[in-house]
């Protein structure tokens, strides 16, 4: 991949990142942090690549440790965020029920 192309992606992603969370209310700070936390667990893709290309045992062991850590980040992150948001959803339903 050309460096200049990657730089382009980087700069554009910075602006998108700024833009998407600029108006979030403090109510959702915790789920948002947790959700963003889950997204960077996608480093799993990188860990899989290095583990798949490891040519020496010590490298493979290290890479598999990275795979393990990244999986915990990715899977755990999405599950815990969903659990939190489920409560927000449930609350809405119950309050609607109370109103009717």
């Amino acid at each position: 991949m050309e460096s200049i192309e990657l730089l382009t992606y980087f700069v554009l992603a910075v602006f998108v990142g700024f833009e998407v969370v600029s108006k979030v209310s403090s109510t959702l700070h915790t789920p948002l942090m947790s959700g963003a936390n889950a997204i960077h667990g996608i480093i799993l893709v990188g860990a899989i690549v290095v583990a798949g290309h490891a040519d020496e045992t010590w490298k493979l062991v290290l890479a598999l440790i990275a795979v393990l850590m990244a999986t915990v980040n990715l899977v755990g992150g999405f599950v815990v965020t969903d659990r939190m948001l489920e409560m927000f959803g449930g609350k809405k339903k119950s309050s609607e029920g109370a109103a009717s």
């Binding site: 991949m1 460096s3 990657l6 992606y9 992603a13 910075v14 998108v16 990142g17 700024f18 998407v20 969370v21 979030v24 403090s26 109510t27 700070h29 915790t30 942090m33 947790s34 959700g35 963003a36 936390n37 889950a38 997204i39 960077h40 996608i42 480093i43 799993l44 893709v45 990188g46 899989i48 690549v49 583990a51 798949g52 493979l60 290290l62 440790i65 990275a66 795979v67 850590m69 990244a70 999986t71 915990v72 980040n73 990715l74 899977v75 755990g76 992150g77 599950v79 815990v80 965020t81 969903d82 489920e86 409560m87 927000f88 959803g89 449930g90 609350k91 809405k92 119950s94 309050s95």
Partner: protein, 457 residues
Amino acid sequence: MSVLTEEVEALLYLFAAVCFILALRGLASPKSARRGNLLGALGAVVGVATVFLAEELSNVALILIVIAVGSAISVPASRMVKMTQMPQLVALFNGVGGGAAAVVAYLELGAADSLGFKIAVAFTIFVGSISFSGSVITFAKLQEMMTTRPVMFAGQQYLMALLTVAALAGSVLLVLQGSFLLGTALMVVGLVMGVLLVLPVGGADVPIVISLLNAMTGLAVAASGLVLGNTLLLVAGTLVGASGTILTRAMASAMGRSVNNIIFGAFKGGSTAGSTEISDRPVKSGSAEDVAILLGYAQRVIVVPGYGLAVAQAQHTMYELAKALEGKGIEVVFGIHPVAGRMPGHMNVLLAEANVPYEVLQEMDEVNPQFKTADVCLVVGANDVVNPAAKTTPGSPIYGMPILDAGEAKQVVFLKRSMRPGFAGIENELLYEPNTTLLFGDAKETLSKVLSAVKAL
């Protein structure tokens, strides 16, 4: 197993990246949040499946086993963790992500050829390591496995300066030489700096530090995307880095602090240093019946819930008490401080868990003008968010933090476990005011007593 052409691979990565963008946007609004998160998970699944199909990989079976093990660890942990302990878990997940990024870059040391890639490798190793060890310390602080007070020692800032120089020198050497020995050294420097960075941060500021470390892990992942030439890692990491930075600033401003102050404040002696000593000044304490009478004959009651309420698992009892009061024609609202709990927005999650309806929860700006007309302000398990020192004492560590003006209510009732100061470790003058009544004990127990006393009125 490279069954996908490069074009298809790029398209699938693009799809995953779009999912992540939509996930973050969805999370910014309560209506779309859950769908957003699921979209993010979908993007992650597509991304991971793509790498298996597109790359020529060996050790596939081993990798799959490890992924299965990782899922087997993290799913039950995320399902079972108490909502009060959520910040710790997020810190831990963030730490392992940073660690994974550092290890990935470390292993790519030999493969990096151009100058730009080598710089990216050095950056990822360093920042990933800081994020890992910093998150572990954050976890230990939140779990109260170590003191929540700032830890400082003589010469700390010199050591930090020295390490910064070492890290810079190490990075330059690594870029020039690219040996694993230098990579290891840089990793160690990063790990030590992560510890030193978080140690001096006081308890109340820890949530902001998680957010900051989250953004740093994002950047490390983005840099590892440069190293591997993987656009998905680059875009996803950058998204998290950028949004995390904004989020960190938003949280810091909700607490009336600057990020610089939190990180570097302790070195100048300006962070949330405080005492955990128990004061022996006289206070007015009452019984559950006294409190029930105060509440039962009020017209307007404002409840200020804090972390202590959730720790005692008393949200349900609190809500029942609120309903009982409403049944007597008393107006009850909940005043939620933006950083009530241990993380911004944490209290909303904790009350949502107990099915407290959204309408009775009012944000700080909304509820603050109402304290003047409130007869009773019931503070349950909160302390720092109503501490007037934030307004009146310029020297106080929490000075400048916006607070709930509980003191303006005609009567203030504190439900507390003991006279121990709050998480930030600062004395609260409001406890000694003549119109303040204290009710000691476990929040759940005392609230049930108050509840039955109110019903008996």
